[in-house]
């Protein structure tokens, strides 16, 4: 397959609909996600961002673990790998080292990336492997019917926290930054156009880029926590529960209480792993 993706012919802002079909595997829709699941909104933002970068489909590889979110590669017409639970970043690391020309995107859930795959995640960040890690963060294990994940907020109900979680939740962005990721951002499915821009920036970054994407699982998290419908979840968690970095600069600490920041939260430069590896080979083979 040698199709080259041409840059978007019709700018989205001209109010013409975007044609997703060149990026999708024909005949795979409807996807398996439940009615209202945010994973599809995230996928659409990603496809628009990919188009904006002009990166050829053949130069992209999407790697995932196991979970509802990890089903994403099944729908996209890129090079794809659907691997083992928690191991997406490990497979992506191997793939990137074998084929450094590829732009590698990891699609992973909060359970996949933060629980069973926590170690792989932090070491990808530490090495500054060139890959874009998208954490579809719906605060729960969707695929296995709603167990608590490392990002389930305190007091929230899940199959394994029937009276409310008593564990503090991970802040994915803080973890990524501390572990060494050189691009760290947060977006939401509600802010789908802003997310498209953040994804574009993440795709253009060289090094480990992590985007924590607040997303919704109406089937389990929504139902357990008594949200009327998915729109209410998106309003309360993604819209009212976040502020952009720009808005936050103008708000008092009291107003920021309990809100998560959206946008690019950290950016730095340091040697990317494949470049370091090439330097090593050059030095040793001299």
């Amino acid at each position: 397959m040698t199709t080259q993706v041409t840059a978007r012919t019709v700018p989205y802002k001209e109010k013409k609909p975007f044609d997703y079909s060149p990026f999708l595997r024909k005949g795979k829709l409807p996807h398996i996600w439940c009615a209202g699941c945010g994973h599809g909104i995230v996928l659409k933002s990603l496809l628009r961002a990919v188009d904006a970068t002009g990166i050829a489909k053949d130069d992209l590889a999407m790697v995932s673990g196991i979970g509802c979110s990890s089903r994403t590669p099944g729908y996209v017409d890129f090079n794809t790998m659907h691997t083992l639970h928690g191991r997406a970043t490990a497979f992506a690391t191997g793939l990137k080292l074998a084929k450094p020309r590829l732009k590698v995107i990891v699609a992973t859930g909060d359970g996949d990336a933060m629980a069973i795959g926590g170690n792989h995640f932090i070491h990808a960040c530490r090495r500054n492997m060139d890959m874009l890690i998208l954490v579809y963060n719906n605060y729960i294990y969707g695929m296995t019917s709603g167990q608590a994940s490392p990002t389930t907020p305190e007091e929230k109900i899940s199959t394994t926290s029937r009276y409310g979680s008593i564990e503090p939740a991970f802040d994915i962005c803080e973890l990524a930054k501390t572990a060494g990721a050189t691009f760290v951002a947060r977006g939401t499915a509600y802010h789908a156009q802003e997310l498209e821009k953040t994804l574009y920036e993440g795709l253009m970054h060289r090094g480990t880029a992590v985007i924590d994407i607040l997303d919704s699982c109406p089937t389990y998290y929504g139902r357990f926590n008594k949200y009327k419908n998915v729109a209410e979840m998106m309003d309360k968690i993604e819209k009212d529960g976040t502020v952009s970095v720009a808005q936050a600069a103008k708000l008092s600490p009291e107003k920021l209480e309990g809100k998560q920041l959206r946008g690019i939260l950290h950016r730095s430069e340091r040697l990317e792993y494949c470049d370091g590896y090439k330097n090593l080979v050059d030095r040793v083979t001299g």
Binding site: Y12, K15, K16, P17, F18, Y20, L24, L29, P30, H31, W33, C34, A35, G36, C37, G38, H39, G40, I41, K44, A189, Y190, A192, Q193, P218, N229, V230, A231, M234
Partner: protein, 68 residues
Amino acid sequence: MGEAAKKEWRIEIDARLCKGCEICAHFCPTKTLEIKGITMSVRDLSTCIGCQLCDIRCPDFAIQVFPK
């Protein structure tokens, strides 16, 4: 001088893909969309302003809005 002609839109909903989650209807600023049975339908096309917010947040690739 008459008023500039109001722009008209054509809304395409793919009933094969729509799962009736109602996200589009909830976030449509003009209440143009509604659920009918198990999928979404257009309540009144004349109110559509072509903002594309329904398409942007549809998780199922099911709705698109074209200039007429």
